[in-house]
Symmetry: C2
């Protein structure tokens, strides 16, 4: 699947910007460059980077609304670094040994250094934002706080599956906060009026939901090679995911009992994971989840229509929306 133009266009600039921010000496900075995929862990240039969804949204939004790219870049980098810092700590919290097809930071450098590296990345992120303005920095910090609150909801009573409304509340913070922030920062840099920022923020909420749900579906039914993560790991870790939320609300009788029993177990075997996936498929969780992705993306399109983007800008956003609905990684 080719990368949509909106993501492809800014890739080199974001990459160069990250290399600039993370150029420091010593092990800590090498860990950060390893994490974002600039290096392979031996100091050699690597190429295991993420999609740069958030910074690309900042930059394209700023440009579409008449802002300057070089003014938007520090804000875009700041947001990507906040996202990246949260991934370092998430992997520790989730016990995930793999990230983008390589060992995660903690599994390569140990938990202590991973905590410290994430802390550094948060501070460097905010320093970047501060290069733009106080207002941008405040917006970034508010989104960061919201994301961390969402992570707190995820960790709270971990391994207890939740219903769909609670799941949505959690991902609106955990994932939605930074996606909304991407549009907000873009609008701020361009000096866009409040009502445009608000429409973009609404669009961000819908995109955030679609994005996270697609992520959850890929974690169960995706191709390991494309996602860079072991299949079924969300189930094994009994994460609060959408398929789990749907399965628990739809399963009845024996299946319901089986699910509850398995989600009470300390350790799930391969066989257990298969059983859970079986129940999920039986109750149509995959299909229902993908329908939610499509519905949220349609709602995003409604908001998109209200935003004064150029025709080509809207087309690129449509292309991105289409990609988000079908992406394999």
């Amino acid at each position: 699947m080719t990368l949509p133009r909106l993501l492809a266009r800014y890739r080199d600039q974001v990459k160069a910007g990250l290399a600039d921010v993370l150029h420091g000496e010593g092990l800590l900075y090498a860990i950060l460059r390893y994490h974002v995929g600039l290096e392979d862990g031996q100091g050699v240039a690597g190429n295991h980077m993420g999609k740069f969804l958030r910074p690309s949204l900042v930059l394209s939004t700023a440009e579409e609304l008449g802002g300057k790219l070089d003014q938007a870049l520090p804000a875009a980098l700041a947001l990507e670094l906040i996202h990246d810092f949260s991934l370092i700590h998430d992997d520790v919290q989730d016990g995930d040994r793999t990230r983008r097809g390589r060992p995660s930071v903690w599994s390569r450098y140990g938990v202590d250094q991973a905590i410290n590296a994430g802390d550094l990345m948060q501070a460097l992120a905010v320093s970047q934002a501060l290069r733009t303005s106080r207002k941008v920095t405040q917006a970034l910090l508010e989104a960061t706080v919201e994301m961390i609150e969402g992570q707190g909801l995820d960790l709270d009573g971990e391994h207890e599956p939740v219903a769909v409304p609670q799941y949505l509340k959690m991902i609106d913070k955990k994932t939605g906060a930074l996606i909304r922030c991407a549009f907000r920062l873009g609008a701020m840099v361009a000096g866009a009026p409040a009502e445009i920022e608000e429409a973009l923020v609404e669009m961000g909420t819908q995109l955030g939901r679609a994005f996270q749900i697609r992520d959850d579906l890929l974690a169960v039914w995706g191709d390991k090679k494309a996602t860079g993560k072991p299949q079924g790991s969300d189930i094994r870790r009994r994460k609060k995911s959408l398929p789990a939320a749907i399965a628990l609300s739809r399963a009845v009788g024996v299946e319901q009992g089986l699910l509850r029993e398995l989600y009470d177990k300390q350790t799930l075997t391969d066989e257990d994971v298969k059983t859970v996936v079986g129940v999920m498929e039986q109750v149509g969780a995959h299909q229902a989840g993908q329908q939610m992705v499509i519905d949220y993306l349609s709602q995003a399109q409604v908001w998109l229509a209200k935003v004064p983007f150029s025709e080509s800008g809207k087309k690129e956003m449509e292309e991105l929306i289409d990609y988000l609905a079908r992406r394999a990684r």
Copy 2:
């Protein structure tokens, strides 16, 4: 030992300010209030707070240089919150189960929540600083980055004892950065000229060294009740501490071999810890360390003389310096 006036004076304001910043709903904010000692973990008002050294230095410096207390308060709170966030993560990294005489955050709420709570506290800290000015926020972030780099040096090759010069390099960052920042923020809020800020920063480096070395001495020879930490824990964890650095440089023959052997062990028994303390005492590490505390504090006094504090301001700083040299916790 009575609290010096400089620390006693601002205590209620800092406490009220922290309560205000950390008033949020939910478990995460309750964890933060527990950590700073505002609550006992059941939501009841507690009283297990720290010394508030850093915020007190911000506030007194600002006032002495003609700044307004209410303008300095957000900067002071921001710095204390950065210090507090680092303690939450430090305790995870060091495996310390006790902090200020109570279970540390990770030992009470688990490592995952501790990582997340620390992340939140860092973001809340910077938000506070931003209420003051961009310049203050930038200074806080620079100090935070430096502190984290120092922590990185501490973690790098952990359990490998270092010589005194490397030890000083590490604590100048890990501890010194925030103490220097306290003076810098106070001077900035008051709009003091650069040469005064520089003299204060020099004083901060000396105070930071004295403070950390006294901490290291208390960790080995202090009263457990006063420090709120188990005795000898630095040795058990084979931390890079001053007594270890001195002992390793002074011990010869059998003692040198014994130390090297013990610092190579994975787990140290009570007997091992006693042996290490024995060697430290034999080579005069306690006395030499305390002499360093006194020397650094004398140097701090030289810088203090160059700063345009009032007579009473200088007297209070002298009182604080005297307290730092002799404090038991």
